[in-house]
């Protein structure tokens, strides 16, 4: 599972995600500066990490979506390659139109950092294959603009195709406003594109990948991707 982590000016979870992937899967991980125009040869997974690319000035993710490297990321995705956006990376994916929807300011209008419980709603993706459907995992969130929004008709489409991969729930797996920290529609925490190769999520699996930091649920996430890539590399149906 050769992985490329893109570093934009203002990214600040790039080293964290490099650490978590290396520590869990032990694979080759390359840091790619946003001014590059090519991804390293043989890249299987591209990660757009969390942080405040360009200081979140203008709008979260808006400027990074126009960075030189994004051409190569789009090309990689178009060929069925895996792309993962975490937090600010998710915002960059919606700003690049690689994923639908938009991330608005949290309903509290404040930044929120806390552990959250998520149910894994779709296990038929390259990122969630090793989870049980409906499994509750704990990943922390840390964001100011994490309210996922889609107009009603597009939201229906997304739900009907199983595009909502992660939802905020109670520790027991029950939904409800009380467990939805930022006010996302349908408590959506993470989505996947129709082809299944691009995933964006607000919570941070890399922060839940070591027991000493309080949780290991994230390891299954990285192992899922590794296992998918080992078995065939690319999303079937595309290439």
């Amino acid at each position: 599972m050769k992985t490329a982590v893109v570093i934009f000016p203002g990214s600040n979870c790039d080293q964290d995600v490099i650490h978590a992937v290396r520590d869990t899967v032990g694979c080759e991980v390359n840091a790619v500066w946003h001014r590059e125009e090519q991804l390293p040869e043989g890249t299987g997974l591209v990660i757009l990490p969390g942080g405040f690319s360009y200081g979140d000035y203008l709008r979260s993710g808006a400027m990074a979506a126009r960075s030189p490297i994004m051409g190569a990321v789009k090309e990689h995705a178009g060929q069925g390659g895996l792309v993962l956006g975490i937090c600010n990376g998710f915002q960059i994916l919606t700003e690049s139109s690689l994923l639908p929807g938009v991330l608005l300011p949290n309903k509290t209008l404040s930044f929120i950092c806390r552990p959250c419980f998520l149910s894994v709603e779709n296990t038929d993706t390259p990122f969630t294959g090793l989870f049980e459907k409906g499994q509750v995992v704990q990943f922390p969130i840390a964001h100011g603009d994490g309210l996922f929004f889609l107009p009603a008709d597009e939201l229906n489409d997304l739900e009907n195709r199983g595009g909502a991969v992660f939802r905020y729930v109670s520790p027991g797996g029950v939904g409800g406003d009380e467990w939805n920290p930022n006010g996302s529609v349908n408590s959506i925490a993470g989505i996947v594109n129709p082809q299944g190769n691009i995933l964006g999520l607000m919570p941070h699996p890399e922060r839940a990948s070591e027991a000493i930091l309080g949780g290991e649920d994230g390891r299954l996430f990285w192992r899922s991707v590794a296992s998918f890539l080992e078995k065939g590399g690319r999303r079937h149906g595309l290439l």
Binding site: N12, D16, H19, F52, A142, E210, I212
Partner: protein
């Protein structure tokens, strides 16, 4: 010459004139006015700070540099410092707090260390006061927005509410970074013939002479002070951090200094004076963001996110290319030379020429008159018999637990990214914040604490108690203290009673540092924290850093298990003086805090460390604000486990439960470890309190509360 309008006193003008052999010109006077301000020169406190022990086996770098460094073993050091940003936060809470965080991060960066964690000390007014909501919301958002964007986690802190901070809130920012001991960057290593380089944001009119503004009482019309406020840009800071660390890794920097108070002048003259070189600066070459700036404005601008580098000429091209990568301005603004002359040129004309050593060290010290306040001893008069025991114990407990100084402050710390960088083992909401060091066994323990009420009642004992509290908390968690940093927040030193309290506080802190073997490695002083409506309480804030040898040696709190025996170690005669209980009763803060006993503290710390290392307990918590009652409630709520306590001692229950001070801790011990635990604490007061279990926390003859009730109070606070 009217020097007073530049904040220069008569004897200071005379000193400058004598050193120069002529009258200083206006530009020079403005420079000296800021550099010799209290904030920059420490003229009122320099001689007092000499009382602090600053050396120890683990100290690599003591006070005098941008931050102190302690040895973590195997060639790694921890650079840390705390700094106040009180006056700016009082006038413009959001920007004041944000730039406070940015400033302390650059202090750590200046040593070549990567900043890995921050903490904040927040001192707000009465929650009911009309300004408190606005000030506290702005300050918290400022700390969060800056730290979050820069990617330095805020892992802990201290928040206090008291009416004395109504008009003058305090913001103290702490930062710690990691640096290989053989790669420390210094501000003392410039040599003649090297380039003076300005890296980072452009220089503007923001924050002109902010240091001078921080050296007088806050004026009634705070708006007048707005031009002294700096504006923060965390994105630029993030670029600056990465650029400076890349330059360090490539060995392209000879010397480095952050630009904080007094901007270019302070940073460049400090490097010149400490390195023993002269310097020529050409202000036409400074990248500006405002038109027509006067030379003195350029000299004293406190525009943020700038660093001063000293670079060997042959490395300049490479330095410029790293700056371009991180999209930062980078300009050669001068050169070093032999001698001590510090000169500024503007449009070909020499506008200032001062000896570098005069700028930093030439200010004559001030020994303000000191006098113990006449009513001082009478503050201790306290008639315990006149204080009725609580009629309704449950109500008294609930009121104590709901006190804003007691609640966990979730609304604050959830606005902070406390996890980025993947090192946070124990984050905010705990008495000790714990970081792991990647690739190593050992953990770092951090505590930030203050007790202004005890410092008010008896500044010596309060100062000692403040230091001791941090060391107790670390020891109980299994962390051996390595050193500390302090922010001394006080009102005007020109009032003899207030100056006396400052002296006494420092003496008390120094005594505790000495007794506990915990030296002071860095810190700052913030005076003139007062407005027309009053002065703040003496508020020394202490940040102490400790080392835990391995994850197994870390003893958490709030980890009771069913069936554990609970023990109180330490004396059963705490004092209600200055306690949270007395304050929440609305009683005058009267009485005298406990006497500091260095021997007892040392003994306690050693036993506490042994308890953690020998795994003699499941959970341990040093007693602090709210005393035993608060510790029981916190541990119980966090453990989700009740307890039945019987206090089999004749002392008044309210004193035992709510009293504060002294080396005490609450432990929960599994039955199998009780003999070991008792052996460790044999010869030290150790009282069995009862057994953990059930869903009710009850103390016989006092209160009985459902654990869920306590959790409920704290859930949304």
């Amino acid at each position: 010459m009217d020097f007073s309008k530049y904040g220069i006193r008569k004897e200071e003008f005379a000193a400058a004139e004598a050193a120069l052999g002529r009258e200083p010109n206006e530009c020079e006077l403005r420079i000296l006015g800021v550099m010799w301000s209290e904030h920059c020169s420490y003229k009122s406190t320099k001689h007092l700070l000499k009382h602090f022990p600053t050396r120890g086996p683990k100290v690599v770098l003591g006070p005098g540099e941008n931050a102190g460094i302690v040895d973590l073993g195997d060639g790694l050091g921890a650079a840390f410092k705390a700094e106040s940003h009180n006056h700016p936060s009082a006038v413009a809470p959001y920007q004041g707090a944000a730039t406070g965080v940015g400033g302390i991060i650059r202090d750590i960066l200046a040593l070549g260390a990567r900043p890995v964690a921050s903490m904040d000390g927040l001192f707000f007014g009465d929650p009911e006061h009309p300004r408190t909501g606005h000030l506290s919301a702005g300050i918290v958002k400022g700390v969060g927005d800056y730290g979050n964007a820069v990617g330095v986690p805020t892992v802990g802190g201290k928040t206090v509410y008291d009416p004395c901070y109504n008009e003058n809130p305090l913001l103290n920012a702490f930062c710690i970074g990691l640096v290989e001991l053989d790669k420390i960057v210094s501000s003392q290593t410039a040599r003649p013939g090297q380039l003076v380089v300005l890296l980072g944001s452009k220089t503007g009119r923001d924050g002109i002479a902010g240091a001078a503004f921080a050296s007088v009482e806050l004026s009634e019309d705070a708006k007048e002070s707005r031009p002294s406020i700096q504006i923060g840009d965390p994105f630029a800071e993030k670029m600056l951090i990465e650029a400076c660390l890349e330059l360090k890794e490539k060995n392209l920097i000879v010397s480095m200094q952050d630009m904080g108070a007094a901007g270019i002048t302070s940073s460049s003259s400090e490097v010149a004076a400490k390195s023993g070189v002269g310097m020529k600066l050409h202000f036409d070459r400074v990248p500006l963001r405002a038109a027509d700036m006067e030379p003195w404005e350029i000299a004293l601008s406190e525009s943020q996110e700038r660093m001063l580098l000293i670079v060997a000429p042959e490395h300049m091209e490479e330095v410029s290319s790293v700056a371009r990568k991180w999209e930062l301005d980078c300009a050669v603004i001068g050169e070093t030379e032999e001698g001590d002359d510090y000169s500024i040129f503007f449009h070909g004309e020499k506008v200032a020429s001062l000896p570098a050593t005069l700028i930093g060290d030439g200010c004559p010290p001030i020994h303000w008159p000191s006098e113990k306040p006449a009513d001082f001893e009478t503050r201790w008069d306290f008639d315990l018999d006149g204080l009725p025991a609580p009629g309704d114990w449950n109500a008294a407990m609930l009121s104590l637990l709901g006190n804003p100084s007691m609640t966990p402050k979730r609304w604050i710390f959830e606005q902070y990214d406390s996890m980025v960088q993947l090192n946070t083992v124990s984050g905010p909401g705990h008495p000790v914040s714990v970081l792991r060091i990647k690739g190593r066994e050992s953990l770092i323990g951090l505590v930030f604490d203050a007790d202004p009420w005890k410092c008010c009642l008896d500044p010596f004992r309060g100062g000692a108690e403040t230091v001791a509290r941090t060391v107790r908390a670390l020891s109980v968690a299994g962390a051996e203290p390595l050193g500390l940093t302090d922010c001394l927040n006080f009102p005007s030193p020109e009032v003899p009673g207030q100056y006396w309290a400052l002296e006494e506080c420092i003496e008390g802190m120094a005594a505790a540092c000495g007794a506990l073997g915990c030296p002071v490695v860095s810190g700052n002083v913030s005076l003139y924290n007062e407005t027309k409506s009053g002065a703040i309480l003496p508020t020394p804030v202490v940040g102490t850093v400790g080392l835990i040898p391995s994850p197994e040696d870390f003893l958490p709190c709030g980890a009771w298990e069913e069936g554990d025996l609970l023990f109180l170690v330490g004396p059963c005669n705490p004092s209600l003086a200055g306690s949270l209980y007395i304050r929440s009763l609305g009683r005058p803060e009267a009485g005298r805090p406990l006497e500091f006993s260095g021997e007892a503290e040392k003994d306690f710390s050693e036993r506490a460390l042994r308890t953690a290392r020998k795994k003699a307990a499941h959970s341990g918590r040093a007693l602090a604000g709210g005393g035993l009652a608060a510790a029981l409630a916190k541990d119980s709520a966090e453990s989700g486990c009740g307890a039945r306590i019987a206090l089999g001692i004749p002392t008044r229950k309210d004193v035992v439960l709510f009293g504060e001070g002294g080396a005490r801790a609450l432990y929960s011990v599994p039955m199998s470890r009780v003999p070991l635990f008792k052996a460790i604490w044999s010869g030290y007061p150790c009282l069995e309190l009862g057994r953990a279990g059930g869903d009710v926390l009850s103390v016989g003859g006092a209160f009985s509360l459902a654990v869920s009730r306590i959790q409920e109070i704290w859930r949304n606070n």
